[in-house]
Symmetry: C2
Subunit: 201 residues, 2 copies
């Protein structure tokens, strides 16, 4: 945009460029798209950004994103409140929710223990999780659904060590070949874990 110094447009391009996975060309395309929106729709977009920031907060129980005191899952009495699925981010919870297979509730850590990024257990919502699984509550099982990374594994291990003395069943998502995946393309670690976790037919 060297020759054309349209400051407001360049500012908008910069905003898009900062986004994950958006390069210079895409940022320009998106900025022009926004510029070509009818005024009312552009205002709607700007409002959606501000609204998301002012209206969204953390659920008091599971720390998921919500616009009221409790998130819809924690509020829902039809769900199994004795099973808690622990995930790293709200997006992970939403991915599990989309399977339509899980009827329990969630707990969102908002990250994983990662000494390299200066994230210790205190920065995660582990206190809140421990408060939920106190002896008076009826929690039966905690499913550790952190990422299948070194850090996700370490976080799962750390939390399970805190929960087990309380007599709670702690499980971990199964490792294995992705459904529809070709054996030949699976990496060795995955394949080894799939062998290890083999089930009888």
């Amino acid at each position: 945009m060297s020759g054309f110094n349209v400051a407001p447009l360049e500012k908008l391009v910069e905003q898009f460029e900062k986004m994950p996975g958006i390069g210079a060309k895409t940022a320009q395309r998106l900025a022009y798209y926004v510029l070509n929106l009818p005024k009312s729709q552009a205002q709607e977009f700007a409002d959606a950004i501000t609204d998301a920031h002012t209206k969204i907060k953390y659920c008091k129980v599971c720390c998921n994103l919500t616009d009221s005191e409790l998130c819809p899952v924690c509020k829902n009495q039809a769900r199994d409140h004795a099973t808690i699925c622990v995930v790293e981010t709200p997006r992970d919870a939403s991915a599990i929710e989309n399977t339509h297979e899980y009827r329990g509730v969630y707990h969102i850590l908002h990250g994983c223990i990662s000494p390299l990024n200066d994230v210790g257990p205190d920065q995660l919502s582990i206190k809140e999780l421990l408060a939920r699984v106190n002896p008076e509550s009826n929690v039966r099982e905690v499913i550790m659904a952190t990422n299948a990374t070194v850090e996700g594994d370490a976080t799962a291990m750390y939390i399970s060590r805190l929960l087990k003395p309380m007599g709670i069943k702690v499980t971990r998502l199964a490792y294995g070949i992705p459904v529809g995946g070709d054996l030949e393309y699976a990496d060795e670690n995955t394949l080894a874990r799939a062998l290890e976790g083999r089930n009888e037919l």
Copy 2:
């Protein structure tokens, strides 16, 4: 996001989903990115959208986007105002500008003649172009740099027929093999045009 009905977040995701080339997954990723921005930066983003809409208008001469009366190119007396490069969109002008080879000025049509999309000559800034190349002005050459599509060609042809009777030299961008392009991957039309337009070495 079925189970989690966080309305403000879903609204934001929807806004991103409407954008060109942004699918459901990317829209969700971008919405979470915006949500995780510090409040001040989110406000900056929202303001950039509103500002782009309120502050950007068309240059009175070339119809390019600008935040003042005239765009920087039209204002610049060091540029060659006797050569006008006619393009379809502001992005095309910016692409030519980025070559750093062109010292003339631009004219932005804001589209091309396209009966299928109900766009006729009246919807484009052709009147404004004709006003610029009146007999009193010193315009020597008009370069038609519309897209190399059927519609871009037709638009170039239409405008050149209006300009030629006024004694103005009208040229068209060269067709040919892209620089760095392999002959074997060039389509037949491009190759035929490259042959036709061959130059002596």
